[in-house]
Symmetry: C2
Subunit: 333 residues, 2 copies
């Protein structure tokens, strides 16, 4: 088997040198365990935080040990009755081609209920659940709201915008980092408006695309995006603080919303969340979003990179915004 | 009668020149109106925002016209059956010694139920209600919470800390701007700890006085206080964004919490509010806080300035933090 280890901790932007691909004998499952051949693994922005040796909501990766993260694969050996050979499972040991896990640490999924297995890492997985919980529970989305989402062409943002439209948003606006992504948001995903944040100040582009203000901001970016959203938010506006990818590779104190005091008079509510504490919403999410996906009402684009060895480069590309939709690694066919 | 008008709009810190005292004939009440002789009027930090010609949650003061704000006084002439001569009323036309109002715009209060009439501008008035709503409804205070309040020796902060203690806080910490205020918080108001924010970095003093972190932050100050609180907040911490007095006189973009992204992993909730939209809580507030006040369980210090003509200077002193407790102007005996 092969696994990718954290070779060293990055300062600022990570590089390929921070990762090391290592060959090992394929392990055998112990009592109650299964051996999974990973077919797809996920790279996600939150992994950048785990590369630091810093207090966070998930334990840091350890130098000299394999990274981990969401993966989906097929059980190829089993000592657990309820998870037989041939089952398709999702689990938390990505960044390797084979994984041994206790059966209680895998979730058996239906391989034909999803358009591709990789959907269990994206639109039907934790990134989809993040979008669902963040929009509906954290930001308390209501029919008729004007919604702004940053990182809108990414795995989470693209689902946020589509759920908002399907749930009756008055208007959905997205920001992204290229003209092609902007086109994609409007033409393929049904956003009402979108802009390239590199073209001009976010606050100006947001004001122009949301002349009557916004009611909900789903923040994947932080920094100037959050400041612009605070400016544009209407009375009783709500913010789901989901990510701050603009800041993950900063080595100095990042830009902050200098206008946060506007939250007083506007009576805004800003609420941070991480999806791990909202797994109880998975059944509702799978029922609603799964049905939309099967009915073709939700589009779930992916950027697929072939080969475990290319996972570090894919992760770096994710940090640079090179993906459209969910970035996944095809580990095996 | 006399009234104080806005002579000009300040840029940065206001000065006495921005105010003008004007003498006028005392008006007579029209049909359904009352004439009130003001006994006390309130100066409050939010009034600084109204001196600007800027969009806000309350209309700006107009240049050349009288300022307004909370006041309490005695009805000396009445054309309204339900508000007779001799009644004590609170209303919104401070900054003058006599006021004519429609009877529906005054609230009759019991002059003997309060230790002094001025309490209706403070602990039993809107500043007390601000403390009550902000702590209990906005910050969702729970018994056993560790609470930090900035501007703790002020009208709102002093009540926040005392309500928190009476409602079962594990620990209440306050910040203020002088050694005397720090002593006052601990010795007179029962705070568990307090510090002078001018002595050293807020984040260090907060860490030292709250070594196990805080659960609730009641923000009257903004800026470095908010940043320090975000750093010290525990998982699922809650922030009531009530004021940002450190920023009201800034002419450039103010300091902002550069660590706001910590709100994601800690799943913090930051919520702005203004008390005007929470008047429905007045009965609960008066019942609970009024009972504590009568039982001597709440101390309500005041800084009383004599004479309407001194109201501008009192307001400037409030901005500089010269008050302890509620700052009121004694307009008449």
């Amino acid at each position: 088997m092969q696994e990718i280890r954290l070779a060293s901790r990055p300062s600022g932007w990570p590089t390929a040198d921070n990762f090391a691909l290592v060959e090992l004998p394929t392990p055998a499952p112990g009592p109650g365990q299964v051996l999974v051949r990973n077919q797809f693994m996920s790279v996600d922005p939150y992994m950048r935080g785990r590369m630091n040796d810093a207090e966070s909501y998930v334990a840091p990766f350890e130098v000299g040990k394999a990274l981990d993260g969401a993966a989906v694969g097929e059980v190829v050996a089993s000592n657990a009755e309820n998870v037989p050979v041939g089952a398709t499972v999702t689990h938390g040991l990505g960044w390797r081609d084979f994984a041994v896990l206790d059966a209680r640490h895998v979730r058996v999924v239906d391989p034909v209920a999803a358009p591709t297995l990789s959907a269990y890492l994206g639109v039907l997985g934790m990134t989809g659940l993040t979008a669902y919980v963040g929009l509906l529970d954290i930001a308390q989305f209501r029919e008729g709201d004007v919604v702004f989402v940053s990182g809108a062409a990414g795995a989470v943002g693209s689902v946020v915008g589509q759920i908002a439209k399907l749930r009756g948003a008055k208007r959905v606006i997205g920001s992204a980092g290229s003209a092609e992504k902007v086109r994609h948001l409007v033409d393929d995903l049904g956003f009402d408006a979108a802009f390239n944040y590199k073209d001009a100040a976010v606050r100006h582009q947001l004001r122009d695309t949301a002349p009557d203000g916004i009611d909900v901001y789903f923040d994947n970016v932080g920094g100037d995006h959050l400041e612009a959203a605070i400016k544009s938010l209407n009375k009783y506006g709500r913010v789901a603080l989901c990510g701050a990818i603009s800041q993950y590779n900063e080595t100095s104190a990042p830009a902050a919303p200098r206008n946060l005091a506007l939250a007083i008079g506007k009576e805004l509510n800003l609420r941070g969340f991480i999806v791990g504490n909202h797994r109880d919403r998975m059944p509702d999410f799978v029922a609603e979003v799964g049905a939309w996906l099967r009915a073709g009402k939700i589009v779930a684009p992916e950027t697929v990179v072939e080969g475990l060895a290319n996972a570090p480069e894919a992760f770096l590309g994710l940090m640079r915004g090179e993906n459209t939709g969910k970035m996944v690694i095809k580990v095996a066919g």
